[in-house]
């Protein structure tokens, strides 16, 4: 009897027991693939998936988001793509995203990565340029959004520039020239190990990594994950801008050569990339990745392209402000290259100060002792100066509180870099050609009290900036044709792109405090002509 009872109970339970794992929502019994196959309007896309063998992938346990174009949307697809499996795969991959993205997760700026490696902009009602007509068809391993337009994979900015033909050849050629490769040993195949050194010997042509030097320095235009707005200059615009700056990169005196053009080209093209994807309506006060104003205008656009990682505009004019391109060279006092002697460390002081505007500055002060030799100098190596005339501007804070305010008198001299010549007394003889001698940098007397001068002074220093009311001496030059620097109309001039030394020299005295040297920075301001 009891046994009978038990079996009755068990049999009665059986149905319920089987249902315990049944999904309440019938939708969750299907796979992505089944859902697509069931929808007659997606049969073309379904056919592509089957052709590529994706039907098995999408019937599996991983979850995906599918942007499925309707049959109508796929009518316009080129048959050559459909017939070529490799191309079709690229095309289909751009519609499939790993993991589930429902439209309620969409937001402006959300970019989701497809199986093909490109990113799609996912908004509530659109994905890239396609409109989502039937959103959020969820099944057990993913979700399908039906869209009204196919989303063929786009080129990224780098690919687009390389595809240009006949519209911006010079710009394109510059970028192609910057392509290079290196061997990444961690990616290379090891053939064997050198028995002597233990170092790996690599299989040739393995581990080769392609890079573009321009992209590395300016903007990673080949990277799918960073977005840029990039301006490509037509040959005319490129020529015009490069000619504006090329004279500042003279590598051969009074001539043009290839190096000069390459340097000038970089100076132009370092400022044609802007962060973010910007529509032509947003073209005001654009700042390049190097923080130079980009004078883009809608009227100059020759053609434009929405790339997978931003916008590209080919423009026929880009009139850069040359003052922002050829910028002042600043030499910080606290970063000297060498000194007249190597044994004077006890007289060299590095200081921090707060100026009259509350800004912290760091400077150098040499002297205040009577052990310093006469004409003691600190030297600064200046590299790659623009070839032009410069105004020499100095900021020096003379705030040693002498009982009577004393002028610091120092010279700012420039010379070619040569092997140092050490004089008989152990002091290096500066090889200076252009000199701004005996500059007076205050403190000035205001109502009889010393007044610390935080202003910039253009050399030669004016009379009102010195306690004795004496102006700095006019510059002199002993430059010959062999020199790459000189003096033009009282301005320091660089005639050929080279490195030079700047010497900041104390007075010709060994009296304590009479031969001090101090400055915060020297600024060489290019004179734009």
């Amino acid at each position: 009897m009891a046994l009978l009872l038990v079996t009755t109970v068990l049999s009665a339970c059986k149905k319920q027991w089987d249902d315990r794992t049944a999904a309440v929502d019938q939708q969750l019994d299907k796979t992505v693939m089944q859902q697509i196959q069931e929808n007659g309007n997606l049969s073309t896309f379904s056919g592509y998936l089957t052709k590529l063998g994706y039907d098995k992938l999408l019937a599996g346990s991983k979850t995906y988001t599918i942007f499925a174009p309707t049959n109508q949307a796929l009518q316009g697809v080129d048959q050559t793509i459909v017939n070529d499996t490799a191309q079709l795969k690229k095309f289909v991959n751009n519609h499939i995203v790993a993991q589930v993205y429902l439209t309620n997760a969409a937001q402006a700026g959300l970019r989701i990565r497809t199986l093909g490696g490109k990113n799609l902009s996912f908004n509530t009602t659109t994905v890239d340029e396609a409109t989502i007509t039937t959103p959020n068809l969820y099944v057990k391993n993913g979700v399908i959004h039906v869209i009204d337009k196919a989303i063929p994979p786009k080129m990224n900015i780098s690919e687009y520039i390389r595809s240009l033909n006949g519209v911006a050849d010079m710009h394109k050629a510059y970028i192609l020239r910057q392509d290079t490769t290196f061997i990444d040993t961690s990616k290379a195949t090891v053939q064997s190990y050198d028995p002597r050194t233990g170092k790996p010997i690599l299989v040739p042509n393995t581990g080769v990594v392609n890079v573009n030097k321009y992209f590395n320095r300016v903007a990673s235009l080949a990277n799918e994950d960073s977005t840029y707005t990039y301006f490509v200059l037509t040959d005319a615009a490129y020529d015009a801008e490069r000619n504006k700056v090329s004279k500042y990169f003279a590598t051969v005196t009074n001539s043009t050569d290839t190096t000069m053009n390459i340097l000038a080209a970089y100076n132009v093209l370092k400022d044609v990339a802007v962060r973010g994807s910007i529509a032509p309506t947003g073209f005001n006060a654009l700042a390049s990745v190097n923080n130079v104003t980009v004078p883009a205008s809608q009227g100059a656009i020759v053609q434009s392209y929405r790339a997978s990682n931003g916008m590209v505009y080919v423009v026929n004019s880009m009139p850069f402000d040359i003052k922002q391109k050829i910028t002042p060279v600043i030499i910080e006092g606290e970063r000297p290259s060498f000194f007249a002697r190597t044994d004077a460390n006890g007289s060299i002081f590095y200081r921090s100060r707060r100026d009259d505007k509350g800004v912290t500055l760091k400077d150098i002060m040499i002297g205040t002792t009577n052990t310093l030799p006469a004409n003691f100098f600190a030297a600064y190596k200046l590299t790659n100066l623009y070839t032009c005339q410069y105004r020499v501007v100095v900021r020096a804070v003379n705030d040693i509180n002498f009982s009577a305010p004393t002028d610091i008198v120092e010279s700012f001299n420039f010379g070619q870099i040569t092997a140092p010549v050490v004089g008989s007394n152990g002091t290096i003889v500066p090889n200076d050609v252009v000199k701004f001698p005996s500059q007076r940098i205050g403190p000035v007397l205001v109502n009889g009290s010393p007044f610390v001068n935080y202003e910039e002074l253009t050399l030669p220093t004016p009379a009102n900036r010195s306690a004795t009311n004496v102006a700095g001496s006019n510059p002199t030059s002993t430059a010959t044709a062999a020199n790459t620097i000189g003096l033009t109309g009282g301005n320091f001039t660089v005639t050929k792109r080279t490195s030079v030394n700047m010497y900041v020299v104390g007075a010709n005295s060994t009296t304590a405090n009479a031969n001090n040297v101090t400055f915060d920075y020297v600024k060489l301001v290019p004179i734009i002509q």
């Binding site: 460390n345 006890g346 060299i348 002081f349 590095y350 200081r351 921090s352 100060r353 707060r354 912290t360 002060m365 205040t368 705030d399």
Partner: protein
């Protein structure tokens, strides 16, 4: 069936209880052989010493709590990205009752042990197991530890039960009818009464005998002299007076401690001046090549460097002039140094770092030679691996390249009280006792210079110093800083140079004392506290003490808001509103 089984078990239990109670009688009479019964614990002076050392060992166990509560709740420390929600709650003053840091039990646990030890010292004295002299020293010491703990409880929880009976467990405290909560001021009165004479204020007497035969606690253990392990009672009593608003009494205590070296040296003898407790020209912000900022003396072992307060490996005459109460953490004995874990980003969890406000405070200063920023900031907080790291507590752990010598060897030092703390507390008491010029002298350039008859001018100081360089104020402010050749004077305060001079900072505006600006001078002292004593567990007390004195906690609330605002913390306004109410400054008390 079930009923049957219960009855059955009950019967068995009853039977066994009967059996065991009969058979136990004999067992109880047998003394256990490997355990000491509680009534037999206190037999000799060595047992009393063991109790004292044990209590200090437990005190080390709350070193992290002391720093976290006193600094993170105030304005100089902020949590890093690694900190958990409980630390963040302290930071934003949104503490929930389940926050382990807001639990007063760890304090009470030590207090219970103090109570037990004190009761047993009484028993031992009555049974002549302890001499009167030994009893006086030990009783006063443990009583002072208890006062220190109660002061911490009062500072953070406001009203707390004051218990001096030995209770078995902390749980018994929950009965509020037996142990009512005292207000903070009533608590302070009780603590002061328990410490004042006839209770001894002296430390442990030194003894000539060493090793296992020594009965003194003033000895050397594991290579560490113990004389600075124990709480300095006069400084603590001075602090209690300062909290209670008894400024003259507080100053009396502070001055006495400051002149310790002079008294011990018998006066006059120049050598003894090294043992002074005033801030004198050691542990300086100084440059080996004056005027060259790159030559800041930044060194653990050189006593001329301010940093060596925190990194000096040996307790010698120099460090003894600065350290007043300090307990070492050593790699060879427990408890483990908790500061590495809190502060270090190498071998620690790096939970806490300096607040932006603290860094700004230092950066906004100009040194006497116009260098930008207070150099103490550079030595208190270091950029290590790109992160700002509180370095004061890490100098024993890091080498000169700021890399751990050994991540498993976490030696360090808990510096609870030092001459700078004493000096600035003295200044605070003097300021509120209407001796603003004395407070100014202590904070700035010292008595000798402030009272040299030409200050704040820079004229020639008379060579006869008989009637200058002394405060000529009523006791306890009658300090003598005379330094003269003919006639010869070396006053007890002649080497004192003040906290700001020591840090190479220019003196404050003399108008502070010339116009008797008490509140402004007090602000300046509290700012100096922040620069000198940051991260040492003083800050919450300093801010709260001043707030309570001014009758409004907005002073404290503003400082905390400034910290949170600078870091863009959205809780800044809420924290300000909460801390502006007197109850809002205290943690929820839950036992």
């Amino acid at each position: 069936m079930k009923k049957h089984s219960y009855k059955f078990i009950y019967k068995i239990l009853l039977a066994s209880a009967l059996v065991s109670s009969v058979s136990c009688k004999k067992l109880v009479d047998v003394e256990p052989e490997n355990q000491v019964d509680i009534v037999n614990h206190y037999q000799t002076v060595y047992d009393a010493n063991a109790a004292v050392i044990g209590i200090y060992g437990q005190l080390q166990g709350i070193a992290d709590r002391y720093i976290v509560l006193n600094e993170l709740r105030a304005d100089l420390i902020s949590p890093t990205i690694n900190a958990d929600q409980y630390l963040r709650q302290l930071h934003t003053h949104t503490v929930t009752p389940d926050n382990p840091w807001a639990d007063p039990k760890p304090f009470y646990k030590i207090i219970m042990n103090c109570n037990d030890a004190l009761k047993n010292f009484d028993v031992m004295l009555a049974a002549k197991k302890l001499t009167q002299a030994d009893y006086n020293e030990r009783y006063a010491d443990i009583n002072a530890v208890r006062c220190f703990l109660y002061l911490q409880l009062g500072m953070h929880w406001g009203s707390v039960p004051y218990v001096t009976d030995p209770l078995e467990t902390v749980e018994s405290l929950k009965d509020e009818s037996k142990f009512p909560k005292l207000t903070f001021n009533d608590l302070l009165d009780k603590l002061i009464a328990s410490m004042e004479p006839p209770r001894s204020l002296e430390g442990y007497s030194a003894t000539s005998s060493t090793g296992s035969s020594s009965t003194s606690l003033n000895t050397t253990v594991d290579g560490y002299p113990t004389n600075l392990f124990f709480v300095e009672k006069r400084s603590l009593l001075g602090d209690l007076y300062l909290w209670r608003g008894r400024y003259t009494d507080a100053s009396r205590m502070y001055r006495y401690v400051t002149e310790t070296g002079y008294r011990n040296g018998g006066g006059g003898n120049d050598a003894s001046f090294w043992q002074y407790k005033p801030n004198y020209s050691r542990f300086l912000v100084t440059y080996t090549q004056g005027g060259n900022e790159n030559t800041l003396l930044d060194d653990n072992t050189n006593a001329n460097s301010w940093r060596s307060i925190f990194g000096n490996p040996t307790q010698g005459t120099e460090t003894s002039s600065e350290w007043i109460w300090t307990i070492p953490f050593d790699r060879n004995f427990a408890p483990v140094n908790p500061f590495i874990d809190l502060f270090s980003n190498q071998g620690g969890r790096y939970l806490l770092t300096a607040s932006k406000l603290a860094l700004n405070n230092w950066d906004s200063q100009l040194q006497s030679n116009n260098f930008v920023g207070d150099a103490r900031g550079k030595m208190s907080v270091r950029t290590i691996n790109g992160q700002p790291v509180i370095a004061k507590q890490l100098y024993y752990y890091l080498n000169n390249a700021f890399i751990p010598v050994n991540v498993l060897q976490r030696q360090g030092r808990w510096l609870l009280y030092r001459a700078a703390t004493l000096n600035l507390h003295f200044a605070e008491a003097a300021c509120r006792d209407n001796q603003v010029k004395v407070a100014y002298a202590l904070t700035n350039v010292g008595v000798r210079e402030t009272y040299n008859s030409v200050f704040p001018g820079t004229g020639t100081v008379p060579s006869d110093v008989t009637n200058i360089m002394q405060t000529q104020a009523p006791a306890p402010y009658d300090m003598d800083g005379r330094d003269g050749a003919v006639p010869y004077f070396k006053g007890p305060w002649y080497r004192q140079i003040g906290s700001r001079s020591r840090a190479n900072l220019p003196r404050l505006d003399p108008g502070l004392y010339q116009n008797n600006q008490v509140a402004n001078m007090e602000d300046a002292i509290i700012n100096e506290d922040a620069a000198e004593l940051a991260f040492e567990g003083q800050r919450w007390g300093d801010l709260l003490r001043v707030s309570l004195r001014r009758g409004s906690t907005t002073y404290l609330a503003q400082k905390v808001r400034a910290k949170l605002d600078l870091e863009g913390n959205s809780e800044a306004a809420n924290a300000y509103n909460k801390l502006s109410t007197t109850n809002g400054v205290y943690l929820p008390f839950r036992l």
